[in-house]
Amino acid sequence: MTVVVRTITRILFPISLVFGGYVIMHGHLTPGGGFQGGAVAASGLAMVLVAFGAKRLAEKKGLLSALESLGGVAFAALGFLGLGLTFFANILARSGGLFGGPVPYGPNPGELNTAGTLPLMNWAVGFKVLAGLGAVVLLFALFGGENDR
């Protein structure tokens, strides 16, 4: 691809990753969440593929599939965390620890440190979607002929 595309990708790639992370991070407060944030971040990956070609990312395939499995395992494991009460029970909420803050009443700008296991699950799903979509796009790019680009 031309130097214009490459330069713009260099600028936009970190931005799309950060924006994806933001959407995941605020999944329990604002529209969005793990899936949407992961998809945003994966679109950054797709941009890199288009600009720099799939060959340079080929060796990252193993990393992506491992990350995808880890996301899935983490999500299910977070469900098991609540097994003292029931599966998926939110034991971190209102516990005072990680994401365990009290939810304020009335209009407020959104308290990030709330919702217990939900934000953690958002992260698990986010990584799974980022890695899964990234791997799919990478595979398409690898199997496509040279003329397709």
Partner: protein
């Protein structure tokens, strides 16, 4: 831990499936051991759940609540996702658990390492998780989610042999049908949600009054689930799918179609059980007859052993639909014969899983030994593979409903029940059975009889173990059907036939 058994049966394979690729990086042996442990654990869980449900009634498990039995949120509204396991769900769970115990050891040996064994095992375990989720859930949207889980995993398994030309085509066909069926189901759920503002099956069931929207979503549920269950005239994905999937995994695909049928029974008897419309029953009966006739006729002309068995499997779906459909027609008056037919239809699900499963394993063993499934190239395998030949013969006879095998036990119940509704139904069903006997006699003759055929590979003992387990199952179910009908089939059929009030009470109280 035992209070969590229903959810563990779903959550452990979900976690186990995702962990398989990670463990495969450690060592192949670790991965294989892990797969066996997960499947064994699922078997124990479904067994425990079934024993509990058959003795003590419906088991409700609420996810994310303070206590698993807290079905209603403050305000008397069931807002959380819950599992509602009644005798019919537990029965489906038993089938899935047993088939998984048979299929996975076979798969561990059957799928070569270089053909992506790790991914195939992952997909298989996720498919198992989806099947159990569909069987146990008591929430409409949750059912849709698990339906999609099975669809995606099944498509992955069907198109697994990407280097052949037929597998990707079969996977594409299935993908198309599964997507449409999933969307139909989702639209049905969305209509009900828009009308009643709830997704809990028991709650919506208590609200349904039979408005136009209700009927529209019933039609969508019917179409979507019949598509997934491979009923005619939308059965055409199934022969391709069963034929192209690795043999060990075709068993799970068969259970997947059965659990879709289970979903249909759940919708018809529990969700819409308050309306009891005989017209819907007649629709199910006639589609069932169509399925068995079309599939038996198509089986006649097959030259590929895998596809032939696949059409046999599709035709058996017709028998289940006939049995339970007769029950549905008779639901309003509740005469005895309706219940007999339903017992037959439900019992046939178990028998079908065993016999068709055994046939697929035999096909897999033949393919392992000869490298082909083409009937024109096969012949004389009975000399080299006597155990497989005997098992295939046994399964063929059971599928055609020859006494004293298990297929006879369930088909006679279906015949008895349907005869009282209309003798024509029984005549067609018997005719199809005879046709299937002819088809499988020809297949047996073509593959196993004749002058000694060359056998390349030796059949591993794991294959014989899996085949033997199913043979024992068929013989036991055939020789003492009374015990099983009494202990597990009757409660399951009763749960559909007259268990709606109990199902609703278990969730909504009162």
């Amino acid at each position: 831990m035992s209070v969590h058994a229903p959810i563990l049966a779903i959550a452990v394979p979900l976690l186990g499936g995702f962990a398989v690729p990670l463990l495969a990086r450690l060592h192949r042996k670790v991965r294989d051991l892990w797969v066996l442990l997960v499947v064994l654990f699922v078997g124990v869980c479904v067994g425990y759940v079934a024993a509990h449900v058959f003795t003590q009634g419906i088991w409700v498990y609420v996810l994310g609540a303070k206590n698993p039995q807290e079905t209603l949120a403050p305000g008397g509204f069931p807002i959380r996702i819950m599992l509602t396991v009644d005798a019919m769900s537990a029965f489906m769970g038993l089938i899935a658990g047993f088939i998984a115990l048979v299929a996975f050891p076979f798969a561990l040996k059957y799928i070569p390492e270089e053909e992506g064994k790790t991914l195939s095992l992952t997909l298989g375990i996720l498919l198992l998780a989806g099947i159990l989720g569909m069987a146990y859930t008591g929430d409409l949207f949750n059912f849709f989610v698990f339906l999609e889980v099975t669809s995606i995993a099944a498509c992955g398994i069907i198109g697994f042999r990407t280097w052949t030309s037929r597998a990707p085509e079969a996977a594409f066909k299935s993908m198309l049908l599964f997507s449409v069926s999933g969307l139909f189901f989702l639209l049905g759920v969305a209509l009900l949600y828009g009308e009643y503002g709830a997704l809990n099956l028991a709650y919506v069931s208590a609200q349904i009054r039979g408005s136009v929207v209700d009927r529209l979503s019933l039609a969508l549920f019917l179409a979507g689930l019949l598509m997934k269950a491979a009923a005619a005239p939308v059965h055409f994905w199934a022969p391709d799918a069963y034929g192209e999937a690795p043999a060990a995994k075709a068993l799970l695909l068969v259970v997947n179609t059965q659990v879709s049928l289970y979903g249909l029974w759940r919708v018809l008897f529990t969700l819409y059980g308050g309306l009891s419309d005989a017209g819907v029953g007649w629709l199910v009966v006639s589609l069932g007859l169509l399925t068995m006739v079309v599939a038996a006729l198509m089986a006649l002309v097959q030259t590929d052993l895998g596809r032939l068995v696949a059409y046999g499997a599709v035709s058996q779906i017709g028998y289940m639909m006939l049995g339970v459909g007769v029950g549905l027609v008779a639901l309003s008056g509740r005469p005895d014969y309706g219940f007999v037919a339903m017992q037959g239809g439900v019992f046939h699900m178990l028998n079908d899983a065993l016999t068709v499963g055994l046939l697929f394993l035999c096909v897999g063993a033949v393919e392992w030994a000869k490298g082909t499934r083409d009937l024109r190239a096969l012949g004389g395998l009975g000399h080299g593979l006597p155990e497989v030949a005997l098992a295939f013969l046994l399964a063929s006879l059971a599928l055609a409903g020859i006494p004293p095998l298990n297929g006879f036990a369930s088909k006679i119940l279906i015949y008895e029940g349907s005869f009282r509704l209309s003798p024509i139904l029984t005549a067609i069903a018997v005719l199809c059975s005879i046709l299937l006997l002819a088809v499988f006699a020809r297949a047996f003759q073509g593959a196993f009889l004749g002058p000694r055929g060359e056998v390349e590979g030796k059949i591993p003992w794991v294959f014989l173990l899996s085949i033997g387990l199913l043979v024992v199952g068929i013989l036991v179910l055939g020789l003492v059907p009374g015990f099983f009908v009494e202990e597990i089939v009757t409660p399951a059929a009763k749960a559909l036939w007259q268990g709606r009030a109990l199902y609703l009470a278990a969730v909504l109280g009162g």
